[in-house]
Amino acid sequence: MPEIIRNGRVEPDDWDESALLTLAQWKLRRLQPIEAGERVGVRLEPADDPAEIASDLDRLQLVAINFPKFADGRGYSSAVLLRTRHGYRGELRAIGDVGRDQLFYLKRSGFDAFALAPHRDPHAAAASLGDFSLRYQGSVDDPLPLFRKRLATAPVR
């Protein structure tokens, strides 16, 4: 079974990525009820607007965002919008051309699961999640900019 990084740990992947529905497939599927025990996951491409699944998020067990090329950064904004604007709390997975040097930014943008390309070692990659212990700006993982923390810890004058 392939492995993924989920919540910082390497685990066996319990999803078959090929079973994920494209946005177009989901738009057809969404009209039918979901059976008890059935798990539905949707895969978004870089150009897909996350607003299109905003009202369905409580019915989805997984949203995957595909990175056909790691240098195409649209998926970062899609993730931020899903987590903040649309309030998605389920598993948000980065798939496609995802490598260890993207993980820190992906995690900050709201991803909690990462399916690396098969030739990449997820155990070595998971270490990169801790590349930085501090962040200047707020994002999904921690909305407070560093300046809010500086003020909170500043000595009272």
């Binding site: 649209r74 904004s77 943008s109 200047y136």
Partner: protein, 557 residues
């Protein structure tokens, strides 16, 4: 200037370790060229014609003497004893070895410097007025907000893989010395009727292949929302900017495609949804950062006026330098001084390690230990007492740093060009040098008066040729190097910015000094008493210049 606290230091040293490991993995074959490329670029490391090129960030152009000494040390230890100051107020080393770069970054970190995001498709080094804090026409000192924006953009997780590079410039003075209308985002700080700082937001300007003057998309944004609004702009751009063609990927193309009105509507809608986030800047944070830019310990003005007047009257060379390279200051008794990196025979913007050490000493002795890099590729001592000017001039002249040509034709702004850069179509440094040699008569040069001459070796426009009063662009024609000439551009310091107009077919390198001479001769013949070159071009258009240049026998491609 801004000094790191323990948190800033930790972030930069963690970056050094991250890049050390990335370089190790690349050299061990664990990362492919394609995988390593964006990682090295986001640390300022290009692979160039001869060797890697490392671009070190000089945030908003501000340096301490100690930092400059470190840059000199790095030039000596890891490079060939010099560095090149760029039009984005950064410093470039042309000859470092890849395996040394992690060590260079570690050295930089010891003086609170780095090469973060000096390249790559991310938010680049933020630039501003090189006279920030001392300019008489300044309304708001832009440096505190520049630093706050620098911190916000550093390792921003959502905007590290934008469609293309992203450049932001800030201005807080009446004159725009930061070319804010020619950046992806330009921010003007002004004050409203209540005396509060508000921001005029300009988007979608730029040079390059498709030069465009930016558009004001918001007249008056409360400063507290600088970060939330920039975030909204970047999110719209990150999602919708073109990624299929790198020549159409800058935000200016998106603004043009959507129309300014629709682009603005999308930004405003995004901002409405996010404006009340914790990224709103608190007054306390502004005050904390602004305290780093408090005025230095100025002395009250003395009676040095007489001495200065005497020196100016007695020494023609000094008065010439004073006229061009010394600038007004908001404090009586003080002046800002440009140390010229435009000595004929030296590539514009280049400084040797020895010169850097000398400038560091001059900054310590005469200007509170700080200096600035200007986007015209010179160094500025911003706080010099008038009584020290004569002595400073002597020392600067001995070090080859007192060429009295600021604002004149030979103060050429020039990219590294085909001698160094692998993107270039043509060489630019030899063209600059040939023109400087042709105009080596100082009296004639001063008679010609104010003139910006800019040279870029390719359409990427690092030499800002679009806004040169005379702009020269290197082009490739069937493998040969040719030069296209435009006139009438203006960076917009004391008027609206303007893009130059091409005068006609391009020229061979050897013809360029003649072409410039004909342009100048046309101006001299046609000018009225008060007119600068640019004014004459504006009044007459390009026709008489074109006629004179092409009427002569010149090689035309």
């Amino acid at each position: 200037m801004y000094r790191y606290d323990a948190l800033d230091r930790q972030i930069v040293s963690e970056r050094v370790e991250q890049f050390r490991d990335q370089t190790r993995r690349y050299l061990a074959g664990e990362l492919t060229d394609d995988e390593f490329r964006p990682l090295r670029l986001q640390n300022g490391l290009y692979v160039q014609r001869h060797a890697p090129m490392l671009r070190v960030a000089i945030p908003y152009g501000l340096l301490s003497a100690r930092q400059l000494r470190k840059l000199a040390h790095i030039a000596r230890t890891y490079d060939r004893g010099y560095g090149h100051f760029s039009t984005r107020q950064n410093l470039q080393y042309n000859w470092p070895k890849l395996e040394h770069v992690p060590e260079i970054l570690a050295e930089l970190a010891t003086v609170e410097m780095h090469a973060i995001q000096t390249s790559g498709n991310c938010v680049r080094n933020i630039t501003t007025d090189h006279f920030a804090g001392v300019a008489p026409d300044e309304v708001v000192d832009p440096r505190a907000l520049a630093e706050i924006l620098r911190q916000w953009s550093t390792f921003h997780p959502e905007f590290a893989y934008l469609p293309r590079k992203f450049k932001i410039a800030l201005n807080g003075a009446k004159s725009d010395r930061a070319a804010t209308f020619l950046h992806d985002i330009g921010l003007h700080f002004v004050t409203d009727a209540a005396g509060e700082i508000v921001i005029r937001v300009i988007v979608g300007g730029g040079m390059g292949r498709t030069p465009i003057i930016g558009h004001v998309i918001r007249e008056s944004l409360p400063w507290q929302h600088m970060l939330t609004y920039v975030e909204a702009i970047l999110r719209v751009y990150n999602r919708h900017g073109r990624r299929d063609n790198i020549y159409k990927a800058r935000i200016k193309i998106l603004v043009k495609a959507l129309g300014v009105e629709e682009f603005t509507r999308q930004v405003e809608a995004e901002w409405e949804a996010t404006r009340d986030s914790p990224s709103v800047i608190p007054q306390e944070e502004y005050d904390r950062v602004a305290a780093h830019f408090a005025p230095p310990g100025y002395e009250p003005p003395g009676d040095e006026d007489h001495a200065l007047a005497f020196q100016l009257g007695a020494d023609r060379a000094f008065s010439r330098w004073f006229e061009r390279n010394v600038h007004d200051h908001r404090r009586p008794g003080y002046r800002a001084v440009t140390l010229s990196l435009k000595k004929p025979g030296v590539p514009p913007g280049d400084a040797s390690a020895e010169q850097m050490d000398i400038v560091a000493s001059l900054a310590e002795r005469y200007s509170f230990g700080e200096l600035r890099v200007s986007h015209e590729q010179n160094l500025i001592l911003a706080d010099v007492r008038e009584r020290d000017l004569f002595e400073l001039w002597h020392r600067a002249r001995a070090a080859g740093l007192a060429t009295p040509n600021v604002g004149l034709l030979t103060n050429i702004v020039c990219c590294p060009g085909g001698d160094f850069c692998s993107l270039a179509n043509a060489k630019s440094i030899p063209i600059a040098e040939a023109i400087q040699r042709r105009f080596d008569d100082l009296d004639y040069l001063h008679d010609i008066g104010e003139l910006d001459l800019n040279i870029s070796g390719c359409m990427n426009s690092c030499g800002h040729h679009h806004v040169g009063h005379i702009g020269i662009l290197g082009v490739d024609k069937n493998g040969a190097e040719w030069y296209q000439v435009s006139i009438g551009g203006a960076q917009g310091i004391d008027s609206d910015p303007a893009l130059g107009q091409v005068i006609g077919p391009s020229f061979a390198a050897a013809e360029m000094p003649d072409v410039v001479e004909e342009l100048i001769a046309t101006y001299i013949d046609q000018r009225t008493a008060e007119e600068r070159f640019i004014d004459t071009v504006r009044r007459l258009g390009i026709a008489p210049f074109k006629q004179r240049v092409y009427g002569k026998e010149v090689a035309v491609a």
